[in-house]
Symmetry: none
Subunit: 68 residues, 2 copies
DNA sequence: TCCAATTCGGGTAATTTGGGCG
DNA sequence: GATGTCCAAATTACCCGAATTG
C-alpha cells in the first residue's frame, strides 16, 4: 500500500461522539448542507475530518466567547 | 507502446482507505458490480485507479450546496 | 523456500439509513 | 426549527482459517 490519504474521513458515529449528539443529528446536518458529506457506494456517509474539526473549533470558539 | 502507464491498479486495502471502509466492503462492491475489478491469477482483486477516483469524485459532491 | 502482510472465502455483530412521532 | 427515540431494512465491520502476494 503506497496510497497517500490526503484527507481522513470520519463515520457518522465518530462525528456524533465529537459533538456529543446523536448520529441521527449528524445525518441531519449533512442533509441540511451544514457539513459536506461523501457517500459510499452503499449509501453510508463519510465526513472530512478537517471540515468537522474546523466546525467543532468554530462552535467551541463561539461558546467561549458567549460565556465570557 | 502497449503498456499504459496510466493503468495504475489499486489493492482492496488502498481503495478501503480512500472510502474509509473495510477492505471486505470493497470486495462486496466488486461482487455487486458497483466497481469494476480485475483478478490476479491467484484470485485477488485489483481496481483501476482512474475508475475509483472517478467514483469517489462523484460521491464527493454536496460539499457546497448553498443556493438552489 | 521462508516470511510478513494482505486478501481471499464464509458467518455473525454493529452501525447506518430513512421515515415518522413527540 | 432542531433533537432524540422507535422501527425495519440495508450496509458495513470484525471473527476465523487458508491461500496469495511480494
Amino acid at each position: 500500500m503506497t496510497i497517500e490519504s490526503s484527507e481522513r474521513l470520519l463515520t457518522p458515529g465518530e462525528v456524533a461522539l465529537m459533538f456529543r449528539v446523536d448520529p441521527k443529528t449528524v445525518t441531519r446536518w449533512a442533509s441540511a448542507g451544514r457539513i459536506g458529506s461523501i457517500r459510499t457506494p452503499g449509501g453510508h456517509r463519510r465526513f472530512r475530518e478537517s471540515e468537522v474539526s474546523a466546525l467543532l473549533a468554530d462552535l467551541t470558539m463561539e461558546a467561549s466567547r458567549t460565556s465570557a
